[in-house]
């Protein structure tokens, strides 16, 4: 199957979902024989036989409902005219879909529908409504009951959602949208209200924007009429062609059908429709992927290269040639003056594998050093380190469908409904099917309890104590004999040493509950539940990695999985939920300063030889600088020039003042991005980048799935990013060129064993593949470590809990932890330039009611958030979701700059910042609450009313008040 730039927009709809199993039922439909798995619907079997049965309430993304009565058929040996969508096939069945009786019934049903459908339906006119075509198909010549849909003509259109409208006049109450919301998205925001002609769809008695709707768009996609329609379709009209590509937001890596008008530079995206054959998302999406693509054509986007001599100068637009020459000469001059180690580059997880690969090649071959790092440094580098240490591979162990076989899920340090919403829907579906969930998170996230799902346990682990928590889990399993002895003995190293370590009393739930905040009885219950499985899976996010013991915690979770034998099959595993779309890929591509592609250390001569012979240069055998090392070296005076691709380090990296000082200390900062971001304030050269709609390449998602990214339109800035990088390298004296990105992937495949079988042609043929793709696994590897680990035996590691040095104290008595919200993404460079700002126009500070009351804070107050490194102001939201003593914010908006307060503390192994633990104080800054706040300060530092408060604390409070006034 070739998926490239499909001219056809229509994707076949088989009416009902497939049934798994061997095709053993021989069915005859209108004389055509077809072999299907028993239980397949007659409607689906007919479609497979090439026979279309009219339908309105059926679509193959939803279970059959059997309400519209259009799909009636006759079946030999069965009385009446059953609905084909709800009638399962059995061997020998003979079906007739076009008898006179069936035709007459369908005409009658269709007449009834048309009697309540507007004559001037705009959807019918633009081709976005199935009614007109169906009426023609079933042969309706007249409507005996009258036309016009009079019963709903007075209903107002709900335009509240920024992306789609609901017009009750066009609605036929088929319930597809309601079922999409409940069965696909699992949100239950929609319902049918009223009966008969009064029946209408409603998002809970309010408008869509005010409702619990999460704007995933599943209802819009399911709607067979124009009732739920994208506003872009209304304003632009229907698309004329489509391109299958991959979302550029989170690590789920959803496949989309970009439906567009026009060609070449005149291409306009009409809508993004999740592709149902996408391996990661299977036809679902979230509000970001489906709707928030408008940033690609936002007026803020920079379309031309710019330079300036000083960061205090105005930008000057220049040609590409001049910009590239400036970059090349600048880096060469710095190298000449200060040595090869004075320059480096940072690649981005928002760029393709091919783009990332050429950046590390430029640094190693043209810059002449290993000063290449990637933004995974600040998110999932501990995942790579910990999983490699335990299993031998720096990646998650499962594919996403694996969760469908999980009996118990331990969700720790992740908030999937906000950060990985499409996978979260899959998790919720599994929860509704009976899987038990343990949520370990300081906050009461939505998975703890939301409509129709409830976690078995919520363990509000105190920030910074994850290792103590996981050790306690393992302790219970070890001491109570709940471990898998056979698995341990056959598949793991250092079993006895580990069991002796973890059985020590200091790891017991009773000993650790003072540290973790988790009651011992709850922890014991959780450990027993996880151990009982039988299939227990761990899903985790940045709440695990962004700690001073992030890598240790990853190893601790690996211990837990090995201890219970929960590896090497479906339904189990240790699964990182990656933050950005290509975090996995950017790591795979040799973006770390100590490793070449495929995670091979630069000290290995046989690995360097592969690249040295291919590239014709000498590769340095010494590790280069990590991102924080670059900043430190810049401030130390030995690092002078930096190329930054698609990452806004001045907003995303911790301790903003430190980062900004480092950038100011450099003599050449080159920013390659869509927008003049915060980092560009310190740049000397700006190179305009290409959006994902313009890219040709691949992304690798959290399940190691390599997906194609196909250009929907040509680069709007005249060059592809990989070309720009090649031209910089060439201008520096190292010729680097490729005819197309496919050649870059060919080079990756030729030099990286786990990618050996990957090529654009194979990806186009197979849809996607999960690495390793090798001779032994030519179609990829959905589940890792089956039978044995990549490293041979799994490594059990004594994970000693070492408390972070960042502790709450009298001056900073609260702990700040940071995260994401559904509608925004990372630093917000993309989503802030879309209507997604409707839902989250600013970062807010969530605070527990008791902490708020102590400080005289009410929701809506502006508060000052201060740490030992900085301070900022946010609007407070008093929230029961927070535990006492912990506050929470996001870092989507530069105006608040949450990272002004985060510190330079980091994971001991990888230097991933400790974003999740910052000791802070929160003070109300609104005038009205000033007096109350100052009194509360006294109380919060332990003083009695009227007693003296320590000068430094009072000074902080008073200064804050003064600044606000």
């Amino acid at each position: 199957m070739t998926l490239l730039d499909q001219p056809a927009l229509e994707t076949p709809d088989h009416g009902t979902p497939p049934v798994l199993g061997e095709a053993t039922a021989q069915v005859t439909v209108d004389g055509i024989g077809v072999l299907v798995p028993p239980g397949t619907s007659v409607m689906r079997a007919a479609k497979l036989a090439g026979v279309d049965i009219p339908k309105l309430c059926a679509t193959d993304s939803l279970k059959a409902f059997g309400s519209c009565r259009l799909c009636l058929v006759e079946v030999e040996g069965i009385k009446g005219t059953p609905a084909s969508c709800t009638t399962p096939c059995v061997d020998g069945m003979v079906v007739s879909t076009r008898t006179d009786q069936v035709a007459q019934l369908r005409r009658g049903v269709m007449e009834l529908y048309l009697s309540d459908h507007p004559v001037d339906c705009p959807g019918c006119a633009r081709g976005n409504c199935e009614m007109q075509e169906l009426a023609h198909e079933v042969g309706v010549a007249e409507v005996r009951y009258g036309l016009g849909g009079a019963s709903h003509l007075s209903e107002p259109v709900d335009e509240s959602n920024p992306y789609f409208a609901y017009d009750p006049k066009a609605c036929i109450v088929c319930s597809r949208c309601v079922r999409a919301c409940s069965d696909i998205q699992q949100t239950f925001a929609l319902t049918v209200e009223g009966r008969g002609f009064d029946a209408r769809i409603t998002p809970g008695g309010t408008d869509f924007l005010s409702s619990e709707c999460v704007s995933c768009g599943a209802c819009v996609q399911a709607c067979p009429t124009d009732a739920l329609t994208e506003k872009s379709v209304v304003s632009l009209g229907m698309p004329s062609r489509s391109v299958i590509t991959t979302c550029a937001y989170c690590g789920v890596g959803c496949s989309f059908k970009a439906e567009v008008q026009g060609t070449g530079d005149g291409t306009r995206v009409v809508r993004m429709v999740p592709w149902k054959d996408g391996g990661a998302n299977e036809g679902h999406s979230c509000v970001k992927g489906r709707f928030a693509y408008g940033y690609a054509s936002h007026r803020d986007r920079q379309m031309e290269p710019m330079v300036r001599d000083s960061i205090d100068d105005e930008w000057r637009v220049v040609s590409w040639d001049e910009a590239i020459a400036r970059v090349a000469s600048g880096f060469l001059e710095l190298r000449e003056r200060y040595g090869a180690g004075a320059i480096g580059g940072i690649s981005s997880s928002r760029c393709t594998n091919e783009e990332v690969y050429v950046v590390q090649k430029m640094v190693r071959a043209a810059f002449g050093n290993n000063n290449i790092d990637t933004c995974a440094r600040v998110c999932h580098s501990p995942t790579g380190y910990g999983l490699n240490h335990a299993f031998g591979t720096s990646a998650g162990t499962q594919d996403f469908p694996s969760v469908d076989s999980a009996d118990v899920m331990l969700v720790i340090g992740a908030n999937p409904t906000d950060a990985h919403p499409v996978f979260a829907s899959r998790m919720k579906r599994r929860m509704r099917a009976g899987a038990q969930v343990i949520v370990a998170d300081p906050r009461r996230i939505d998975l703890v309890r939301s409509p129709h799902v409830e976690a078995a346990l919520h363990l509000p682990v105190r920030p910074g104590t994850n290792v103590a928590f996981v050790n306690a889990m393992c302790h219970v399993i070890a001491v109570e004999g709940l471990y898998d002895e056979v698995f341990l003995r056959e598949r793991c190293d250092d079993v006895d040493g580990y069991l002796e370590f973890i059985a020590r009393p200091e790891h017991s739930p009773e000993a650790t509950e003072g540290e973790t905040g988790i009651p011992a009885s709850d922890l014991r219950t959780a450990a027993r539940l996880y151990a009982a499985g039988p299939n227990s899976a761990i899903y985790y996010g940045l709440g695990v990695t962004e700690h001073s013991q992030g890598s240790t915690m990853v190893m601790g979770m690996a211990n837990l999985a090995m201890l219970t034998g929960n590896l090497g099959r479906e339904g189990v595993g240790v699964n990182p939920l990656r933050g950005q779309n290509n975090v996995q890929g950017s790591c795979d591509m040799g973006s770390f300063p100590h490793e070449l592609p495929g995670y091979r250390h630069v000290s290995r001569p046989e690995v360097r030889e592969i690249y040295e012979s291919l590239w014709g240069v000498t590769i340095q055998a010494e590790p280069g600088l990590r991102i924080p090392n670059m900043f430190d070296s810049a401030l130390g005076g030995s690092f002078k020039g930096l190329y930054v691709q698609g990452e806004d380090i001045a907003q995303s990296d911790p301790n903003t003042q430190h980062v900004e000082a480092a950038l100011r200390a450099m003599e050449l900062v080159v920013v390659h991005d869509l927008f003049l971001n915060e980092t560009a304030r310190f740049a000397h050269v700006f190179l305009p980048g290409a959006s994902f709609l313009e890219k040709d390449g691949t992304f690798t998602n959290a399940e190691r799935r390599i997906n194609r990214v196909r250009p929907v339109m040509p680069s709007r800035v005249g060059k592809d990013e990989w070309q720009v990088v090649c031209e910089i390298a060439t201008a520096m004296g190292y010729p680097m060129s490729y005819a197309a990105p496919s050649e870059i992937m060919d080079e990756i495949a030729a030099t990286t064993p786990t990618f050996a079988g990957v090529s654009f042609a194979r990806l186009d043929a197979e849809g996607s593949m999960q690495w390793p793709v090798t001779d032994a696994a030519p179609h990829g590897t959905p589940t890792m470590h089956v039978g044995s680990f990549v490293r041979g035996k799994g490594q059990l590691t004594p994970t000693v809990y070492v408390p972070t040095t960042e502790r709450a104290n009298r001056r900073y008595p609260l702990v700040l932890t940071t995260g994401r919200i559904l509608s925004q993404y990372n630093v917000g460079a993309q989503t802030r330039r879309t209507p997604n700002d409707t839902w989250h126009p600013e970062d807010v500070l969530e605070i527990h009611p008791s902490d708020a009351e102590l400080r005289g804070i009410s929701s809506g107050d502006v508060v000052e958030l201060s740490s030992r490194v900085g301070r900022t102001e946010l609007t407070a939201v008093v929230s029961e979701r927070m535990p006492a003593g912990v506050v929470y914010t996001t870092f989507h908006h530069p105006v608040t700059g949450a990272n002004v307060v985060t510190t330079e503390n980091s994971d001991w192994a990888t230097n991933c910042p400790e974003y999740k633990v910052t000791a802070v104080q929160v003070m109300v800054t609104t005038e009205a609450a000033r007096a109350a706040s100052l009194e509360s300060v006294e109380a919060s530092v332990g003083g009695k009313r009227g007693e003296r408060v320590p000068d430094d604390v009072m000074a902080t409070a008073t200064e804050a008040m003064a600044r606000r006034r």
Binding site: P382, Y385, S394, Y599, G636, T903, W908
Partner: protein
């Protein structure tokens, strides 16, 4: 305050805290191996200079690890192994 601590000292002491439970000999060996595997040359040189100058803020384990580096006493096989982080 820790942000005023020189970077290599702060990073080195992070390693000390992590490996200290292994006992002095093993811990110094592991710290030296980690530094050899991940630290860029100028960072190692900075640490070595601080050890030579007798920086009193350095933890004894970090000093011992720095000496192991000078003596080439670290796990070469581990250094060349993949780490993925």
């Amino acid at each position: 305050m820790s942000h005023e601590v020189p970077p290599v000292v702060r990073l080195g002491h992070d390693l000390v805290r992590n490996f200290e439970p292994l006992g002095p000999e093993k811990a110094a060996y592991e710290i030296a191996t980690h530094i050899r595997k991940f630290w860029e040359a100028r960072m190692r040189a900075d640490l070595a200079a601080r050890v030579r100058s007798g920086d009193p803020t350095l933890h004894p384990l970090l000093v011992r690890a720095a000496q192991d580096l000078v003596d080439d006493d670290y796990d070469r096989a581990e250094v060349s192994e993949s780490s993925g982080g």
